[in-house]
């Protein structure tokens, strides 16, 4: 059970009031599959699955591929890895063997990592030694993965470990910070993509081959009607016929058939290519190889390499580098030649029919790279480096002719362990993925998990970042793709430059991991397919014949594609092959595609056969009773995973009543097409779509509860709401992601009306009494940390005593009291918990030794070791805070770590930002007194008054329905649902309102609180869930009259944190120039900024000083004038570059002239 006990309760609530004997209809209750799905999969299961796959499968594969370490010095020597395992996370300090918990790592700035053990076999002299469980480094462990201490723990255990059971996991704790490896979106590997560049008139097919050894990109391009092969390792574009000949297909006819089949049009288009190779006088394989070998780019090899002939060079290049993913065994080029021919055919097809190009943005052509894959790339690189380093060391030792003792290689294993540990840690903590093998240099792979709110953390775990450049102005990759349906959330994307490039997963998605290809290859033949490699183009492209591709590579041929498809799917539905293997037909180029690779997004759908849903009430009943789980539905073939490509083969009904004869699948629930963050919005299907997108961005800034362990954490900055409430109008998604348990907002009674002039431009009027009673009250926690450093010379930082002075109190003048800066400190030199701390006060009275560099000797006269200077941590913010926690611990490097957490409690004030769940944000414009506010017949006074002008242009009808449903919910004492494409119906809500004596419209008879007379209109009045956003006036308010200046330019500093000035920018300056306010300009730009008086010599135009011109050696023409210091600086800097600037003065209004 991944999430623990909480899910049981969740499942129970759905059946509250519904007994087992009650009728269950599939139409209404099939959505109960969804919580079951999430129970199995969890919200961030993709990360965890991928990491588990890395630990359990990939790690072993990597070691298998690099299992041998040999020595150049001693041919007898060998070292072989037999196995690799990852242990459980353990602590590095030895004093205690207690299990280390993630929260301890967070608090103590440790890395949550587990040791990697290998079993090795190596030669020592003449014996072969085996060693088990040799530690070769530490691997950061993903929280809630199989190796994590949290896996399989219930709510009680989680509480004992100081962990939040609702925390999704899926991230790492490295040096105390939580790091997420974002999902990366890429174009799929090892697949042919045909593109058309209309401008250049070029059609090209490209494949990014990716194997463990190599990554390379191969292009087949058409230039002026001729087709070439282009590859990085070949200098020129190679005519395709030449390449095919080099691969051993020497007959022109065979080439023609393999590329064009019997189609006359294709043959005509292609035949021109034969000309080129004959022009080059290449007719045989030998000639082709020689021609090619001369043009292969030489690789720089490390170490001695035997000389090869050009033919060998060409063979090696074709076999290993070009299309590296199609393996060549025993120089049998047939499969690779056919692959190349098929690529060429795709180009030829696209040349004759431009509509046959592929869409790069189509979700089916994309693969998602997850933490596991990225880590495995990194680990393989580090492991290779580790082995090659070890080899060098072994060589070094074995080279020595006489050794005193037998060389034991296992000692080297231990010494190199730091390489892997450090490499992993550095990559995850900096986010720089640099892989030497692939020359890959990627920055920003990891991000700090945002703990602003529960939703922001959750949103981060489902985020997908695209490799596409943000600066390019193309709309294609950013646009909403129809193929995203159900896989990627249509609403949740940021605004601005990353719009459409950063996406989020929909609620019910799964990302596949790699599956074995070999059994599928055998299965294809067992299902009656012919081997494609032995066929000619004549048969391959015969009408009615379909080529079977496995992961994009030609494999077999069938004449009965539909039958093949059906039997393949039947096997999958019976659980004989993995449920994540997809199969679909592409009728455009007569292919049956089977995909087993990882990184495809797929989602479960209910199977429909013969016009009937296979999930019947009987199954749902047993699901409700807990007799079956989601996996049983998969095993029984009631539900299956369908990826984007296979979706194209399916005919999916959204609702059960829409099923027809040809329907193949039934949607589990339509609202799952939205993601976790968009799922918070009630009635999103009634809103204008950008509003939902805005809310997705704002939901992440809402202040609320972030985790059950929020008071046990020490975060750099943490915002918490004092009294968060779960929304009155929930959605199913809210329950599924358990937002109702960690909410971020409060239900406010809202009156939609105009009140005073302080509510224009979306400003809100808040009720003072509501604020008095705790509405919108929030807390801000800030962390300040320091390390008591130990220095090389033995000196160390320390915490000093409180300084005291004589009391100023006249009553007891002899008493010693702490000086004002030290009032918050206790005897231990740390601020006391609960103490108020204001600007300028010390909270850690740290002192550093004066001498930190050299150890004092008897002769040296350096400062002694026991002399200290104050280096206190001083509270700098203007607004006071309280000390919430003080933590004293040791870090990994045995240095004392001190963390101080301060707390501020804030009530909303003028200018604080609030937002409803419909992308409608506003700041508080005025805080009105309770008695001044309007009241309804029942005596209810609104918490918030919202201006009605917010509605017409925004068209957030969902907000109005939320109010209605909320009001009905309050009156009937029930929570209402605003689930997308469903939810409580407006008619039902109106009925509840009328039954309770309210108007059906939600509009109430309201009396003014100022005049006491009734208002002349009815007021839309009821509860709406409001979020307080993190932008608060207190953090932004800033003004200055005089203050600090920058040292270099003597201009006022910039920014609130430096108490900077407010800039009169270019545009403001332009206004003043246009207006002609020259004196104002002079004052703003010079006098109030960096005015400086210089002594200028009128004769030479250079600056002097003290009324003396150093150039002219006279004071004759020296005058004083005021210029900006920056100007003076510029002149002097120019001077230093040998550019002389002279200032010549003239009178603007000269004397004596008229």
């Amino acid at each position: 059970m991944p999430v623990g006990d909480s899910f049981d309760e969740l499942l129970r609530t759905y059946y509250k009031g519904k007994h087992l004997a009650d009728s269950i209809s599939t139409a209404e209750d099939k959505w109960t599959l969804l919580p079951m799905f999430l129970k199995v999969k969890g919200l961030v299961k993709q990360h965890i699955d991928s990491f588990n796959y890395f630990i359990d499968v990939d790690l072993k594969k990597i070691v298998k591929a690099n299992e041998r370490v040999l020595s150049d010095a001693d041919p007898q020597f060998f070292l072989r890895y037999l196995d690799i395992r990852v242990g459980t996370p353990e602590r590095l300090d030895i004093e205690s063997n207690a299990e280390i918990t993630p929260n301890e790592c967070r608090l103590r700035d440790l890395t949550y990592a587990a040791p990697i053990f290998v079993d090795v076999e190596y030669s020592r002299g003449k014996q072969v030694v085996r060693k088990r469980a040799v530690n070769i480094g530490r691997l950061p462990i993903m929280l809630r993965s199989n190796k994590c201490v949290l896996s399989g723990k219930g709510e009680m255990d989680m509480a004992r470990l100081n962990e939040c059971p609702l925390d999704p996991g899926g991230y790492f704790v490295v040096n105390g910070t939580e790091k997420v490896i974002l999902v990366q979106e890429q174009l799929s590997k090892n697949r042919i993509i045909v593109e058309n560049d209309a401008k250049k008139g070029v059609v090209q097919a490209s494949v990014t081959s990716s194997t463990h050894e190599r990554k390379s990109k191969t292009y087949i391009i058409s230039k002026k009607g001729c087709i070439y092969l282009r590859h990085n390792s070949i200098v020129d574009d190679m005519p395709i016929v030449l390449v095919l000949k080099a691969m051993g297909i020497q007959s022109d006819h065979e080439i023609l058939l393999l590329v064009a089949g019997t189609d006359m049009v294709y043959q005509d288009t292609f035949s021109i290519n034969f000309e080129e190779s004959s022009k080059l006088k290449v007719f045989s394989q030998q000639q082709a190889l020689e021609y090619l070998g001369a043009r292969v780019r030489k690789q720089r090899f490390i170490g001695p390499m035997k000389q090869r002939t050009t033919v060998q060079e060409a063979l090696q290049c074709l076999a290993d580098i070009v299309l590296a993913h199609v393996y060549v065994e025993n120089l049998n080029f047939r499969p690779k030649a056919m692959y190349l021919a098929f690529m060429t055919r795709r180009v030829v097809m696209a040349m004759t029919d431009p509509s046959l190009v592929d869409d790069r943005d189509y979700v089916g052509n994309k693969r998602l790279e997850l933490a596991g894959q990225l880590l495995s790339l990194l680990f393989e690189d580090l492991f290779k480096k580790f082995n090659s380093d070890m080899k060098l060391n072994i060589d070094k030792v074995l080279k020595k002719p006489n050794r005193t003792e037998e060389f034991d290689a296992s000692t080297l294993l231990y010494t190199g362990a730091n390489l892997i540990t450090q490499g992993m840690n550095r990559a995850i903590s900096t986010g720089n993925w640099s892989l030497k093998r692939f020359k890959m240099e990627r920055a920003g792979v990891t991000h700090v998990l945002s703990r602003l709110s529960y939703i922001s953390a959750l949103g981060m775990m489902t985020r997908i970042s695209s490799q596409f450049e943000k600066t390019r102005k193309v709309s294609g990759p950013r646009a909403l793709q129809p193929s995203q349906f159900g896989l990627l959330c249509p609403s949740d994307t940021p605004e601005g430059e990353a719009c459409g490039l950063v996406k989020n997963l929909a609620l019910m998605t799964h990302i596949t991991t790699d599956d074995e290809e070999e059994p599928i290859k055998k299965l294809v033949f067992a299902l009656g397919a012919e081997d494609a490699t032995i066929l000619t183009g004549h048969e391959l492209y015969a009408p009615g014949a379909y080529i079977i591709f496995i992961n994009g590579t030609l494999h077999g041929l069938t004449r009965f594609p539909m039958k093949f498809l059906r039997s393949f799917r039947r096997l999958r539905r019976n659980g004989k092959i993995s449920e994540f293997i997809s199969i679909y037909v592409n009728h455009h180029h007569n292919g049956v595609h089977i995909a087993t690779d990882g990184g495809r997004i797929c989602r479960p759908l209910i199977i429909v056969e013969n016009g009937r849903s296979k999930v019947t009430p009987r199954y749902l009943k047993s699901l409700a009773a807990g007799r079956t789980v989601f996996e049983d539905f998969l095993k029984k073939g009631l539900v299956e995973y369908v990826d984007c490509n296979e979706e194209n083969d399916a005919y999916i009904a959204v609702y059960e009543q829409e099923i027809t004869e040809s329907t193949t699948h039934l949607e589990i629930e339509p609202f799952t097409l939205l993601g976790a963050v968009a799922g918070l919005i009630p009635y999103p299907h009634h809103n204008q779509s950008p509003r939902n997108t805005y809310q997705c961005a704002m939901g992440k800034q809402a202040i609320g509860a972030i985790a059950y362990n929020q008071f046990l954490r020490i975060d750099t900055l943490l915002y918490l709401m004092v009294y968060p409430q779960q929304p009155m109008v929930k959605t199913r998604t809210i329950e599924l992601i358990q937002y109702d348990k960690l909410p971020a907002g409060q239900s406010a009674i809202v009156a939609v009306m105009s009140y005073s002039g302080y509510d224009i431009e979306d400003a809100l009027v808040l009720n003072k009494a509501s604020l008095d009673r705790g509405f919108g009250r929030c807390q801000v926690f800030r962390k300040y940390s320091t390390i008591l450093r130990k220095y090389q010379n033995g000196a160390a930082d320390r915490i000093g005593d409180i300084k005291r002075e004589l009391s100023k109190d006249p009553e007891n003048p002899d008493e010693l009291v702490p000086i004002r800066k030290h009032v918050a400190l206790q005897a231990d030199g740390l601020a006391a918990v609960g103490e108020k701390i204001s600007a300028g006060e010390v909270y850690v009275n740290k002192q550093t030794p004066v001498n930190t560099s050299n150890a004092p000797t008897l002769l040296s006269d350096g400062p002694p070791l026991d002399e200290f200077k104050d280096a206190p941590m001083t509270y700098k913010l203007h607004d006071h805070a309280y000390i919430d926690k003080v933590l004293v611990s040791t870090s990994e490097s045995e240095q004392t770590l001190i963390k101080v957490l301060t707390r501020q409690t804030r009530r909303p004030e003028l200018g604080d930002k609030f937002s409803s769940r419909h992308g409608q944000k506003g700041v508080c414009g005025i805080i009105a007194r309770q008695e001044d506010m309007p009241f309804s017949d029942t005596g209810i006074i609104p918490d918030i008054i919202m201006n009605p002008h917010g509605f017409p242009s925004r068209m957030t009808v969902g907000k109005m329905i939320e109010l209605l449903a909320g009001k009905a919910g309050v009156l009937s004492g029930k929570l209402q649902y605003g689930t997308a494409f469903g939810g409580s119906k407006v008619d039902d809500m109106a009925k509840i309102l009328v039954d309770n004596g309210f108007s059906y419209s939600g509009k109430d008879f309201v009396t003014s609180g100022i005049t006491g007379e009734s208002l002349e209109a009815y007021i839309f009045f009821g509860p709406i869930y409001y979020q307080k956003l993190k932008h608060m006036v207190q953090d932004k308010m800033h003004s200055r009259a005089r203050g600090p200046r920058a040292i270099l330019t003597r201009q006022p500093t910039e920014g609130r944190s430096r108490d900077g000035g407010l800039r009169l920018g270019e545009m403001e300056r332009d206004c003043l120039i246009a207006y002609g306010a020259s004196q104002l300009l002079l004052e703003r730009l010079m006098l109030s900024s960096d005015v400086h008086e210089i002594d200028l010599c009128e004769m030479c135009g250079l600056m002097g000083h003290s009324n003396w011109c150093t150039t002219c050696q006279s004071s004759k023409g020296v005058v004083k004038m005021k210029i900006p210091y920056a100007a003076k600086l510029l002149i002097q800097e120019l001077l230093s570059m040998n550019v002389l600037a002279r200032i010549r003065l003239e009178d603007v209004f000269p004397y004596g002239e008229k």
């Binding site: 009494a769 005596g939 008879f1005 007379e1013």
Partner: protein
């Protein structure tokens, strides 16, 4: 009642608008009618009727007065009737998970009660300026204590998971506030000590080893300053609804008509000819949902309204003062305010007259006429 209603005094309740909101009984509005203020007339017509009166809730009607007066009373009840509430919290120890500020805020909002006369006799606590803060005395400050330590229940079974059985003192309730009378308070609050009005307000939850130890100072304040000083949970009024059936509604339509209103508003009576007819029964029960206006079949048959000078007050006390006392206290405050206003106006007028006289003399000691002319301009 309906017969006596002056149609001028009816606020029109239409489907989407409310009309005739303001009163018109002021001089000069109706030609030929005298609406000048008349104490005798007011005394004759003005009525206060109590419908319900319990300590925590009272409902009463104010009939034949202006909205301004009713509203003033409502506003005073919310914002200006003084009560006692916790103002300062001195935390000696608080190891619970609830932070000091939040705890103090929660404590402040707890309604207190105690001997009413003694509370009334309490004087205002004036904070004073910073260098010389005012020392609290027994005349203006009430001191409360709260001390609670949670412990494990030694008798609990090991298998128990219920916190109520596992721990003792793990809930801090408002009833745990302990009054510490000082000086004259010992006598004045002797029979009725200061305590929480609702003893079962949960203040905090504790776990073994956690402790709360605080001293609180309560002072007198008004709702304008902070909502915790407001004596009412709600004090509001609504106008008496008015339903006028213009055409008789008979037969089955009568039942449908009655269903458009809350129970008891419309009665369906049987006429002599055996046909049913809808008649207005108790308009007070109507909630003005305007449901009837949605139905086309009753279009033009009914006119909804509200009586502009009939205010149905609802006052809910938080527990310190009785609901009716709050109202009386509000009336008293209003009276004091008007007296003050009157005095100040007299003062102002006198000063004005004096100033004018002085100015005239100073400006033009011989000819006073011109100065007068200037003034009138």
């Amino acid at each position: 009642m309906p017969a006596s209603i002056n149609r001028r005094n009816v606020v029109g309740v239409n489907a989407e608008t409310v009309t005739n909101v303001s009163s018109t009984d002021f001089p000069g509005h109706w030609p030929g009618e005298d609406h000048s203020w008349n104490i005798k007339h007011f005394r004759r017509t003005f009525k206060v009727k109590f419908c319900r009166n319990t300590p925590l809730l009272s409902q009463f009607d104010l009939i034949h007065t202006d909205a301004a007066i009713a509203n003033t009373l409502r506003r005073i009840m919310i914002a200006e009737v003084p009560t006692l509430a916790i103002e300062s919290v001195y935390v000696s120890n608080n190891t619970s998970i609830i932070q000091d500020e939040v705890l103090a805020h929660r404590l402040g909002l707890i309604p207190l009660r105690g001997d009413k006369d003694a509370l009334k006799g309490l004087s205002w606590y004036l904070r004073g300026e910073d260098p010389t803060p005012h020392e609290p005395t027994d005349e203006d400050t009430i001191v409360l204590h709260l001390k609670k330590t949670c412990e494990r229940n030694p008798d609990a079974k090991k298998t128990d998971t219920n916190p109520d059985k596992l721990y003792t003192n793990h809930h801090v309730y408002a009833s745990d506030l302990v009054f510490e009378p000082a000086g004259c308070q010992i006598k004045s609050f002797g029979h009725d000590p200061v305590r929480a009005a609702n003893p079962d307000i949960l203040i905090a939850k504790l776990r073994p080893g956690q402790e709360i130890d605080l001293t609180m100072h309560c002072i007198k304040g008004i709702g304008q300053d902070h909502a915790k000083f407001s004596p009412v949970a709600t004090a509001s009024y609504r106008l008496l609804p008015d339903i006028r059936i213009k055409k008789p509604i008979r037969g089955k339509a009568a039942d449908r008509f009655a269903a458009c209103f809350p129970k008891g508003v419309i009665a369906v009576r049987e006429r002599k000819d055996g046909e049913k007819e809808a008649v207005v029964d108790n308009v007070r029960n109507d909630t003005v949902s305007r449901e009837v206006l949605r139905h086309d079949e009753f279009k033009g048959m009914v006119e909804l309204g509200r009586v502009r000078d009939h205010f149905i007050f609802l006052v809910e006390s938080t527990g310190q003062l009785d609901a009716d006392e709050i109202f009386l206290s509000a009336v008293g405050t209003l009276k004091a305010k008007t007296i003050n206003l009157k005095r100040d106006i007299y003062k102002m007028l006198r000063k004005q007259a004096l100033d004018a006289k002085r100015a005239r003399r100073a400006e033009n000691p011989d000819a006073g006429e011109e100065g007068d002319a200037m003034d009138t301009q």
